[in-house]
Symmetry: C2
Subunit: 418 residues, 2 copies
Amino acid sequence: MLFMKEHVTKQARRAKEASRQLACVSIEVRNTALLAMADALEARQEEILEINAKEVAAAKEKNTRRNMIDRLILTPQRIKGMADGIRQVVTLEDPIGKLDFEVVRPNGLKIRRVRVPFGVIGIIYEARPNVTADAIALCIKSGNACVLRGGSEAVRTNKKIVDIMKDAAAANGIPSTAIEFIGILDRDAVVVMCRLRKLIDVIIPRGGAGLISRVIEHSTVPVIETGTGVCHTFVDKTADQDMAIKICVNAKTSRPSVCNAMETLLIHKDIAEEFLPKVAAALIEKNVELRGDEACRKIFDMNAANDDDWATEYNDLILSVKIVDDVDAAIEHINKYSSEHSDAIITRDADNAAKFEQRIDSAAVYVNTSTRFTDGFEFGFGAEIGISTQKLHARGPMGLEALTTMKYLIDGDGQVRG
Amino acid sequence: MLFMKEHVTKQARRAKEASRQLACVSIEVRNTALLAMADALEARQEEILEINAKEVAAAKEKNTRRNMIDRLILTPQRIKGMADGIRQVVTLEDPIGKLDFEVVRPNGLKIRRVRVPFGVIGIIYEARPNVTADAIALCIKSGNACVLRGGSEAVRTNKKIVDIMKDAAAANGIPSTAIEFIGILDRDAVVVMCRLRKLIDVIIPRGGAGLISRVIEHSTVPVIETGTGVCHTFVDKTADQDMAIKICVNAKTSRPSVCNAMETLLIHKDIAEEFLPKVAAALIEKNVELRGDEACRKIFDMNAANDDDWATEYNDLILSVKIVDDVDAAIEHINKYSSEHSDAIITRDADNAAKFEQRIDSAAVYVNTSTRFTDGFEFGFGAEIGISTQKLHARGPMGLEALTTMKYLIDGDGQVRG
């Protein structure tokens, strides 16, 4: 434990020192280094694939779940995807140096507020090696050093990706210690990382609910919470029902495992008799299991939803369904059970749409479209570090701007305070 | 403990429910209620003064430190100051509803990002009753409910101020439960508060280092750290020395107890022989105790600084002094010991000024002026909730904007994700 703590602390301190240098590196140098990293991943892909094959074999031997193995496997195509992802980050605008506030005070002081890098970003994630390349690219682009901690199943693959990217960085004007990878398997390394206040400036956990709550529980470093999505769609009585069915099917079935998929459908009581059988048929055709409240089950045969269902992120082809009295009841239900991620109303009533937008306390509030759009690329940010479900600093899809902070620069000519 | 926990949780839940209503209350109603609160504090000042006199007497009996008692005492003039502070908040622009990003995507989705209230803000502070009125005013102005926890010495004074403001709120369209005051003296109430994730959206501690580190240690609710200031002034070799002396005296002595006062003076070695005796004489005339490194003590007789001095916020008429080789050495020293609050360079060299501004990793970086200007009013924000020394969400002086978060509103006409 002591050795591990010292080792992790030393890595974070190295990253902090590198971050001082990195904060002065021009965007041209950052971009050139990123392109070199992308090229290096492709040029040295055999090294990655060889190690990855061994880790995949080891995971299979341990009877790891199939979807976990699928996420672990790399192929030449997936490595090309990682490299292209980095090249895409290169094309994005530099988030650093932007002036977002400026004033000259009556005493002549000129005050400017500019966007600057955080310094060191800690990213704790699970076994998907592409996150390694992606996280490094976004951090370097935004002038930040990073300390990465990935899942144990992919530790050697991740380490190889990091080493290749560090080499390319060092050859192109970026200190290699700006990228630190914690290869120690001890789970407590996460806790140590979370307590390195002043060495790590912010921690972003990317993964399941267990990982995220562990980070929040232990961290004294500020955290950006990402992930959990208990998303709702409310079909109002004036909804275009064909549109509503299309949106519900998309929100539930286009990718049920992700956080912006719908988990609960709320239906206005005045249209339930007509709408519920139609939407149920369309969802069942896509193999969705429905779990309804009493009122639903009187109209259409389905399993019963219990109280836990309303708060559950299924990440699966399961949908809870409830009939509500009106838009107010829908808002109340959502604000009670939602994870404040993404919620939608389908309506032709402009007043109800406005009420829903104002009163739903979630990162993204939709009118007449699918919650599946909550995504940095779909929002046009050109990148996504994660989707924040907290209110501090960043909320909703996080682009490069979310990896920056600000600083005030004040120029005077001898002013003193009275 | 169990009763206390339930009680605090119940108060936070009440505030959360009130925050849903408050988010829909117009700025006119919020301002009218604030004016009524200000009037009520003046109209009912006898009630406050009576209770305050008892608490002051009790504190004196307990041999409480004199400066603590001074902060506790209310007078008609101080109550007028509190009321006028609220009226001043009324004049500020509404921070809610501001559109700060808008785009129409190729698929026709219209995405807007608007500033919205956090919901519930927790404020934990020490024994200064004016903070109570101030915090309530800033929270209500920004559409937030609040849960307040003040110091035990002022608990009855604070409770009375809260009750008067709650009455005025309730009579003017603001739910009285939007203002919750934790009157339980048990110190663990702070810990309970800090763990009410999802009921309290953000916690802002205002007080000494002990309070702040306790909050950071225990909180699972996101925290905005405020306060500690180990501020530096570096006098470069090209500095206008008369200006530098004036600035140093101001930064150290105009109000030594506050966080933006200078704690360490760094002097370029080439001017030390000439400048140090002059600045030392000016500071000593103001009763400042100097603590220098070896090089300083060869030039001017003063106490020796030990290694702890460089990291100490004296909050007193004490100054550590060090001679450095150049601007790079100054930057290195500051980034090592600074609390990332406010640091200044005095120079006529534009390159050194630019380098200092870029490389000093602090909330406020000054050129040729005093660190004492780090303040929401001096920056023209018209209010100040505190000075953030963390990088997440808010950095430096926090105005009303720091009490808001954002939400994305997405309008479609049936779009689904491919």
